[in-house]
Symmetry: C2
Subunit: 144 residues, 2 copies
């Protein structure tokens, strides 16, 4: 799992012609060792504690790379700090259902998935799955 992710980053770096640097390795290691939605600041301090020389900007820049290669995802809360969470494979989509013609449009929304995890955690639930269906009139039925 962690090795997979390292490979993911290495492949991405190779494909983009990025160099392999000590700092990126350290930041990736520490990011992979964290749990959901760590703030840049927190990650920066973790990195600093084991590796004082690393700068603020490098952490910012490296996290953007992780997002770009699909390892991480930006998450916003209401405290003005950007957080990053791990992208986990196997996420699925939900549905928009037209109550007139019964057509179904699929969609995915990572933020909703994430919020669901939060809600479940808050209530002590161990989540197994979910179903989200939005009902309404699709664009063509609206016009009629």
């Amino acid at each position: 799992m962690i090795l997979e992710k390292k490979k993911m980053f290495n492949d991405f770096a190779a494909a983009k012609g990025l160099r392999s640097t000590r700092q990126r390795d350290i930041i990736l290691d520490i990011f992979l060792s964290t749990h959901q939605h760590i703030s840049v600041e927190d990650l920066y301090f973790k990195v600093k504690s084991s590796n004082p020389g690393v700068g603020h900007a490098t952490v910012y820049r490296t996290l953007k790379l992780f997002v770009e290669c699909g390892l991480a995802r930006e998450v916003l809360f209401y405290d003005g700090q950007t957080r990053y969470e791990h992208v986990v494979a196997g996420e699925h989509h939900d549905h928009l259902v037209c109550t007139n013609c019964n057509s179904i449009v699929e969609f995915e929304n990572e933020t909703i998935e994430m919020l669901q995890n939060e809600i479940a955690a808050r209530h002590g639930f161990q989540i197994k799955g979910h179903k989200l269906e939005i009902y309404g009139l699709c664009s063509s039925c609206r016009r009629q």
Copy 2:
């Protein structure tokens, strides 16, 4: 609808001993005339255009009051600007369902509701309702 909201704010202001000022009236009027998620900056410019004297800080301060009295809600996107949207009455809750003991916990999440509206809008859907159910093990069933 607009009058209701003005009343809402006036009642809140009265209850809190806030003064009624020209600026707050203007900002409320303009906010009520806007659509979903306006940024502070945009609202500020709208206010300025009809009323040049009003300052930046006042718009920020007044929007916080709207949130406090339940008229507005903060919304975050990924562009670093805080937006505010209207709170609409009649929002409901969703469910956490335990697949073992079938107990149901109700919850509400405004952000999910809002995201659903966005998704529907993006697909040209006129939303009528939705159902969100999260399935899993409740905290007591997990322990067994």
